[in-house]
Symmetry: C2
């Protein structure tokens, strides 16, 4: 398939379809009083990705190199070697800022490059994320100038790849509980790192099995008690830079044992490994001691009294990882939707509507539109939410309030975005039938590779507890003045015009109403439990778990409100240049769909039954209007043809006898 | 890991947990007025799988042969070879009835064997299903005695494997549209089978790429018009037995082209192939002509006038395939839940509830219970629904009403069961964290292999249209007398005791109420569309698509009602031997969960808001009671240890340095 033949096929089919669609019984029956809308692809593209897409296109072009052709049916060892080659190649062509480049120099360039990258392949993103984000990031944020100068130049070029060894067999989403130990040995003047038992082995360490020479190892630090040298003082979790493989022989270093985590159902381009340390000596200067460590005099020193604060400061890179997942999720959802919708626009089945016509395009079935368009609308919403959290990340010198807000929202978006991606991959896979499973068509492969997103960098449901915990005291009239006028019956015993139901004001107020009502229900439940409890020491975490349905409902409501708020903000901004925003339609469908299908919002009966029914009618109308604009909505994503599979193009020609599908 | 060390670990953890649970704040806070229940594992096991489990255990034992050890990280070619070896081995030990054995001789034995098989691996089930179910089944049902005698003995032993070539690139869920042609050549006295264009190539044909020698090929039959020999008469779709590979050389037969469908994101043990026929001659006696074909005089003959009837009669095997999927789905869901719940009973994280205690078992978190127990309850429900559809299948000489009912319910169960399996695999995968992705722990591998179930043997949403279409005239007071007393306000403006809300009568009546109300809404919408339409020829299919949300809602409601009805029936039957049924608890949770979480049921507001809220409380209470009985509920499934992964056993010991996970 060439790009042009694919475009021609689509164009031909779409034109033929438009020409006949006035007689289409399905569209005419869905017509409502809503005026037609015509969305401009280019305006939308600028809203999504900015006017200057030079660097984004540069990166997309790099991915045309034969090295980046998708390879399927290979063993995990082959997948890892390929992933290493690709990572090294990208390092060579300079797709990341150098370690000593100031953080916000060329910021837009590197954002655009890294954004474009994320469409391509999750194994490659993950190898880059583990090495540059976690390994390099930890040294840059926490290490001494001496360590940076020595280890970051060969890390930048991927000559000396590293890994980030935090997770253990026994502790994943709860890193505070890790069991690896580091003891300060006064006599030898070094740290001794040790794996005390089976569950303390480092596990799932990305790039550890085959790729990495170095590792940032996290351990519970014990130093001799100054007042009683025979006793150990626990100082909490610290990070150490530890060589794990000999730079020449590639053999594990003395005292280090390395094993592979074995085959996984996806992401096999990433070599996850297991590490054990048998009393490995680590020099004093190899501690990443920005927030705490043993000083030249052999005494422990930290800027924080609290171990929790030390740990929080050190783990700021993990929040950045979550931001990365929110972005990739939205981008990969765009890719999957582009593939499935294009296929639906060229694939015919189930007979003709009228005698003598061709069979109906599957994208013309209402059933098929309902599968895909609400997901398309939410993908738009999540795109802008991902941009918002990137901006929050990039605020220099955040104050404490900003740090907390960033932590809470990045955790929440990570959950809702990765789940949305998995839902989108499932729906698009099914929408493409068996073709959705064919590796060369990408969706099935993406499903396998992205599944891990729901639990790595923190389990999604656990992340939502973080959101509930962090928001329960914030979602109050004191902190959000609009809530002061909250009235439980605000929307009841009323009818609303279609214009109101479709308006951003109504939708946003109802989302906020839901979040606030959910916070009140949760707060009341917590209060009752506290008043009844005999066990006065029960933690808030434990109480929130006891009310897990309410906690999850509240957390989701907070994050959904944030997402809609951002979408509305951009919609309004775009109004300044034109009287109609191209985002209005997707915002309407996104909002209506949640009001129609979210069992929690529906259960709470904020609105009357007739309003609820009318919302369902409007969902139908919004889907119809999306259908009329779907070419613009999909092509504005700008996913290039070489990142899509044959079914997004001329899949008939791709299946001639001569074509080699046996890969 | 040995079975006994695994059992010991679980026992030790569970006993320790029971000893401390009276002081457990989470359980005590969830207590309601409901009396405690204690479920007996053995009683439950008999209800599920009957008293005599000899043949089931025989099959489980066969799967201990080293040939059946799970292999990961292999190419698709290796996976296919392994799958062929396993299929041949099973044929040798006699796991299927011989072709000439009367259908219901030894019925229980073969049901038990095939049931046990389905827990093991979807690639193996699919290879067996394609060969024995579709290929052998077609010859047995439609072929002449001569063909049976010649081709079925070597098919039984898998010496001459065959495939079933119906699906084409252009037509999958809509087989009526296939384009492959068979013309009767009067001069040569044979059929000529031809692939007229690219979309007519046979596609996804299981076992065609490497394994099969023979194929049952489906084609549109054209015979010369008796009144005008220059014109062709279309006789509809017929099946032909066609050799595709030379028995000695394995080379494609003359005129046959074979290609592989390429790597897939799962089910790679199954070699899906593509087939083209270039004017291939097929002798007259190779037509599977039970319902129609050319006779000795060269004239077309059929017992049916209607092409649709001919086609329907021939495709009865496809309904049987759907039954198989309903059963396997339930069994694989049992496997995944057994793995995840056992892991949750031994995995600790997120700190201790009280100082000095071990960290909390993740299965003791309310959040974790809510992830898994509603799925456990629904899996019980689906187990019995699958048994019911098997009984419907096995009725000899079904009348037309029974055939229709079987077609409708088998289509509906196929959809709801396979989706439930995919939901269960996703939830259990996430519940196991990264371990859920490790191939050796099976869940990730099952996810990849089972994804196809949602669209093969018919796309699930399309299947639900079949259900809506088939039920809209049946879900009436005339056919279901109970509906005559239907009253829209039946449940409104009333409160109900907990005992009522938990009762099977209330739940079943509400499910039926929902299905009937949905049928009325859909019927009204169809009526309105018909009265407004200008295009008088619009088909019911097209109108149902126009109201796809209502059609899908109705179809789901019909199937959910069937599932609950079956569960209640078995629950009541089991009451005859005891005053308490061990199924009551799962039936309660299954019913309550749908009432609480199904957005359609919630949206319709059949019950008052306070009742809706009370249902949510009772969900919490039911989850708590399931937690108290979860060992019995899981172990009654009887999934043997060798079909579970290391995390279902002593996963700590499975991760010692010496263990080789690098597979």
């Amino acid at each position: 398939m060439t790009a042009s033949s694919s475009a021609q096929l689509r164009l031909a089919t779409v034109s033929a379809h438009l020409a006949s669609s006035s007689a289409d019984p399905v569209s005419s029956a869905l017509e409502t009083s809503l005026p037609p809308v015509q969305i401009n692809r280019d305006t939308l593209s600028v809203l999504l990705d900015g006017e200057d897409q030079t660097w984004r296109n540069w990166m997309f072009d790099q991915l045309k190199d034969p090295l980046f052709e998708y390879k399927n049916n290979i063993t995990k060892e082959e997948a890892v070697r390929l992933n290493q080659q690709r990572t090294r190649h990208l390092a060579r062509i300079g797709f990341r800022p150098k370690w000593d480049e100031p953080k916000f120099k060329n910021h837009k360039k590197f954002l655009a490059i890294s954004d474009a990258m994320s469409y391509y392949d999750n194994s490659l993103s993950t190898m880059g994320g583990a090495h540059y984000g976690l390994y390099v990031g930890s040294i840059r944020e926490l290490g001494s100038d001496e360590l940076k100068a020595k280890w970051l130049p060969p890390a930048d070029t991927f000559e000396i790849p590293g890994c980030f060894a935090l997770t253990e067999l026994g502790h994943g989403s709860n890193p505070r509980g890790i069991e690896t130990e580091a003891h300060w040995d006064t006599k030898q003047g070094c740290y001794i790192i040790n794996t005390p038992n089976i569950t303390a082995q480092k596990y799932w360490i990305g790039a550890a099995a085959e790729t990495a020479f170095m590792s940032v190892v996290w351990a519970q630090l014990y130093v001799p008690d100054p007042s009683n040298k025979d006793q150990w003082q626990h100082q909490g979790i610290h990070a150490f830079l530890v060589p794990i493989r000999d730079l020449k022989t590639r053999e594990p270093c003395p005292g280090v044992t390395i094993r592979n985590c074995g085959a996984k159902s996806g992401l096999n381009g990433m070599d996850n490994g297991r590490l054990w340390f048998d009393h490995v000596k680590v020099p004093r200067n190899m501690c990443l001691d920005k927030y705490g460590g043993v000083n030249e005099n052999g005494e422990y020193e930290s800027m924080f009294q609290s171990k929790d604060q030390r740990f929080g400061g050190q783990l700021v890179n993990l929040s950045e990882g979550r931001v990365g997942l929110s972005i990739s999720s939205a981008n990969l959802a765009k890719t999957a939707l582009t593939i499935a919708i294009r296929y639906g626009q060229t694939r015919r089945q189930f007979g003709a509507r009228h005698p003598g016509e061709q069979e109906t395009l599957i994208m013309d079935y209402n059933l098929h539109q309902r599968r895909l368009y609400p997901l398309l609308a939410t993908t738009y919403a999540q795109h802008f939410a991902a941009r918002a959290i990137m901006r929050m990340r990039d605020v220099e010198d955040k104050d404490l309030k900003q740090i907390k807000q960033f932590h809470v929202i990045s955790s929440g978006l990570k959950s809702l975005h990765t789940w949305h991606l998995l839902d989108t991959l499932q729906a698009t896979r099914e929408a493409c039938g068996g073709q959705g499973l064919k590796s060369s068509n990408r969706i099935g492969h993406m499903k396998a590779d992205c599944d891990v997103m729901a639990t790595y960098e923190g389990d999604n449901q656990v992340m939502l507890i973080t959101v509930a915990k962090g928001s329960i005291s914030d979602f109050t009239p004191k902190k959000i003045p609009a809530l002061a006028t909250f009235n439980k019956a605000r929307f009841q015993n009323q009818t609303f015009s279609d214009a109101t139901l479709l308006s951003s004001e109504f939708q946003l107020e109802l989302f906020q109403h839901h979040a606030y009502a959910a916070s009140q229900r949760l707060a009341a439940a917590v209060e009752i439990t506290r008043s009844q409890q005999t066990d006065k020491k029960q933690s808030l975490d434990s109480i929130l778990d006891q009310h897990s349905a309410l906690s999850q409902e509240f957390a989701r409501a907070v994050v959904e409100h944030f997402i809609l708020q951002e979408l509305v903000r951009i919609e309004k901004e775009s109004l300044s240049s034109s009287s109609v925003s191209p985002l209005t339609l997707v915002r309407q469908l996104h909002g209506l769909w949640k009001l129609d299908m979210d069992p929690n919002m529906v259960r709470r009966r904020y609105i009357d039954e007739s309003v609820q029914e009318r919302i369902r009618d409007l969902v139908g109308a919004a889907i119809h209007r999306v259908h009329e604009n779907v070419d613009a909505l999909v092509s504005a994503f700008g996913v290039p043809d070489h990142l899509l599979g044959p079914i997004a193009g001329d899949w008939v020609q791709a299946n001639v006898v001569e074509g080699n599908q046996d890969i």
